[in-house]
Every structure is written in C-alpha cells, then in structure tokens.
Symmetry: C2
Subunit: 258 residues, 2 copies
Amino acid sequence: MPDVSGLVRDRHRTVYSCSSLFIAAPHLALEAMPASPAGRRLLPEATVRRLPLYLRALTGAVEDHQATVSSEDLAARAGVNAAKVRKDLSYLGSYGTRGIGYDTELLYQHLSRELGLEHDYNVALVGAGNLGRALGHYRGFTERGFHVVAAFDTDPAKVGGHVGGTEIFPMAELGRIVKEKGITMALLATPAAVAQEVVDRLVEAGVTSVLNFAPTMLSVAAGISLQRVDLAVELQILSYYDSSRRHRYVPATASATS
Amino acid sequence: MPDVSGLVRDRHRTVYSCSSLFIAAPHLALEAMPASPAGRRLLPEATVRRLPLYLRALTGAVEDHQATVSSEDLAARAGVNAAKVRKDLSYLGSYGTRGIGYDTELLYQHLSRELGLEHDYNVALVGAGNLGRALGHYRGFTERGFHVVAAFDTDPAKVGGHVGGTEIFPMAELGRIVKEKGITMALLATPAAVAQEVVDRLVEAGVTSVLNFAPTMLSVAAGISLQRVDLAVELQILSYYDSSRRHRYVPATASATS
DNA sequence: CCATGTGAAAGCGTTCACAGCG
DNA sequence: CGCTGTGAACGCTTTCACATGG
C-alpha cells in the first residue's frame, strides 16, 4: 500500500448530500442525476466492480509520481481498455481535462468517496475455522479501512481465544456485540449448513453487508448486500477451460489479463 | 458433501472425443456442435460460471432422494431463475424429459464431465503467508478433487515445514516439482509485488490454470486460464452499496440471493 | 397435461468513432 | 493537437412466451 494519506483530506461527506450537490458539482445535476430526489442514481453494477481496480491503479500512479493519468494509462494499470475507463468515469461526472487526462489525486478522492471509503467499517468475522482464521489474519482488510473487531464461533474451545488480535465470542453474544461495536459488515465463514441461520441473525442484529464464503446460496431481505466468494466454484471454472483446451474447440484469443 | 460416489461411474473421457461423439450422442452433433472440427464449441462464459452452482444444487437433490429435478426446482436450489437453467442446460444438449424434468443422476454426470471434473487435479500453492496457509488447510478443495500436492515460499524459515499436510518447498524448486508431480493448477497467494514474476515461472513450468489471490493484475499468454479472487475488492463493492443506501437513490428490489 | 427446449424480444455492457473542448 | 466525454452500434445475457413432445 503506497502512501496515499495525503489524498484523503476531506472526511466530510457533503458533496453528494442532497442540499450541497448542486453547489459542489452543478454539471452533475444536469448530466448524471436525471431522476432521483434522494441523490445520485446507482452506477451500473459492472462499473462498481471496476472502481476498486481503478483506485488501486491510481495508487500505482501516485507511486510513480504522475500528477495526471490518461484513460489509456489507467486502463493499462487496471487491465481493462481505455474506452471502458472513460465510460465508467463519465458516470461519476467530468473530472478529466481534455487533452491532459485526470488529476491523479483528485480522481483518487472522488473514487474513494464514491465507493463510500471516506470512513472505516467495523466488521464481524463469523466462523473461526481454517478459512475464518485466515481471514482474521489477512492484513489487506485493515489496510483498506475494514476492521475486524469481533469474531464468533460455536466451538466453546475457541471462544475466549483470539484470531489476529481479535477476540472470539460465543455465537450467543452476536446480537449484543454487533450492536455495541457498531458492526455493519460481516465475513461469513461458517459451514454451509448453518450459513442461512447465521446470516439471518446478523441481519437482525443490524448488519447490512455480508461477504459469504460458505459454499451455499443465501437469501436476504431487500436492502441487504450480499457478495459471494466461492473458492471451489472458481477452481471448477478453471477446470472447465482446462478440459476445453484438451477436448473442445478453443478460439485463439489475445493474452488474458486478470 | 453428500455421497455422490455412485454418480461418477464412467471415468473414461470418450464421449466428447472427436471419434466417438457421434456414436455416443448423435443429437449433439446436430444441435450443439455446428462449427467445430476439434470438438464442441465453448459455452457462454456466464453459463460456465453457473454450472458449478447447478452441480451443487444437484447434490442437494440427491440428498433429498429426488430421482428427477425440474428446472424450477434446480433454479430454486441454485438461486437463479428457471428460464436461465433451461437455457444453460440446453447448451449441453437435451438431457431433460418434457413433462418430467431432468434425471438427477444423469444430469450430475453430464455436468461433471462438462466441467472436466471426471478426473482430479494436482494443485500448487504458492505463498505460505496467512492467506496461503488458510488455503492449504481448506478442505473444500480436496473434497472436490483439487489436491494441493506442493506449497512454495521464499522464506527459508517456512521451507521444510508443512501446511495442512503438504510440504513447503523453496521457490527455486518450483519448476522441478511442478513437472515431477504433474501439477497443472496453482493457487497464487504471494504479495502483489512478485505475483507477475511467479505466474511467469508457473506457466513456464507447465501450469495452465491459475487462481490469483494477489491484489494485482496479471497477464499471461493465450491458452492460460486466470481467475482472480480479490477480497478487498469485494468489501469495497459492499461499501459502495452500503453508502448508496445512506446517500444515494436505491431502487426497491426483491430479496437478493447469493 | 406438464415441463422442456427455443426462437424472439428486451436489457445490459462493451466497443467504436468522433464531436467537443482545453 | 490530444484526450476526454458520449451518442450509436454491436454483442452478449437474460427473460419471455409458447411450440413441442413424452
């Protein structure tokens, strides 16, 4: 993680609040906010998935002391094409300068705020098995403002212990501690069989965003965000393309990027 | 994991080889193989990503002793809609019976084979840090036929140790051991800074499929498969939707499933 | 009669190509 | 002149709706 501390200067979230948007960014009002009384319209999902990549690409540009980046440059760093970068960024408003490119620092700030990263998040880790413990130790979360402040497990032998500096609580305490610590996100790393039950309890306690590592489908109420990370599925996808190369027709493609 | 051992009976991969396809499944030749001399055409990417979910849904149906499943049923178990299931399965050929549904066991076999899961894979784990060790301990891989048979790390203190029963070798041995053990897949869990260099060595040694956990973009030659799992990106996506609910317009949607 | 399999329509996402502007 | 911002074209994915056939 490069030093970008100087980039995030404005910790107030006022630009996109209703009352100040038209003052802070009047051109947005005309171009990107056609129909919403409560704020900006949601970005296309595909764009949202790429914004974190642009953010990371920008930290690279900062390290290289580039005051501005072109869409071409950003695209190369993020592994996408330039047209996509321009289209994606245009949804946020016009922060580039024609003939020059984007101001590195300014764009970083805008992306950061757009992603809701201007404040940190308190995160619960549920399930302290192998995968759960690993997630608890993973440094990438804290570095990016996601703090695992409590872990939970049903196993009495694990309760009272720690995972990466975080105390492990019994599941019975889940509701109380989520509320006490102001937890809004959860990493779900329980066995598949209990995942639905656990996510229901998390939501009831006030969690609104869940990253599900359990190999099962979960359903949650509207207004709750759910992302799935399914390691076995990823390997099975690789397996398909591997066996395709051996047995099926595989079109010649340019070198892949990921 | 339910007992599906009885489902995978035919371990020969002959059905989709060129010479026997027309004998084993003549209707496929007419419907699903319009233009390829070397075998069946590749499935749409979106379909490939869902096949593993159907496979998992089918194990659920097996547990419930359902001899047949309808597209409606499969859809509910996999968290998608029935039209999508039918369209996806139609790309594989017509294995359903109108008025009845799909034979659970038969469909499981076909999906399994389509995904290239009729044989196991030897997998290398590169990087035995926090995330790497967790991946090495994760049981879901072996259960699904992906065997982590070697781990690698640059840290001399780790070399010679074990992660989940697998020996940790020095990076210098990578080429030799990948060839010796017939490794074709790799889990890449190194720091981002060295990930490109490592993937280049893996590919040179003969690895053709890589699951990249390092938070960076990698480029590989055509014919090499690369899937990315980026935990921080997933959290940042959740962060976006979380802040959207607080500051932006969020349309009312039906309950989400993942 | 019932659920599959599938053309056709609708909806998204990507890419193109260039107008517009600093 | 160079690069952004963006309509328009294109292609992929999803959904609809129903003909088809056991």
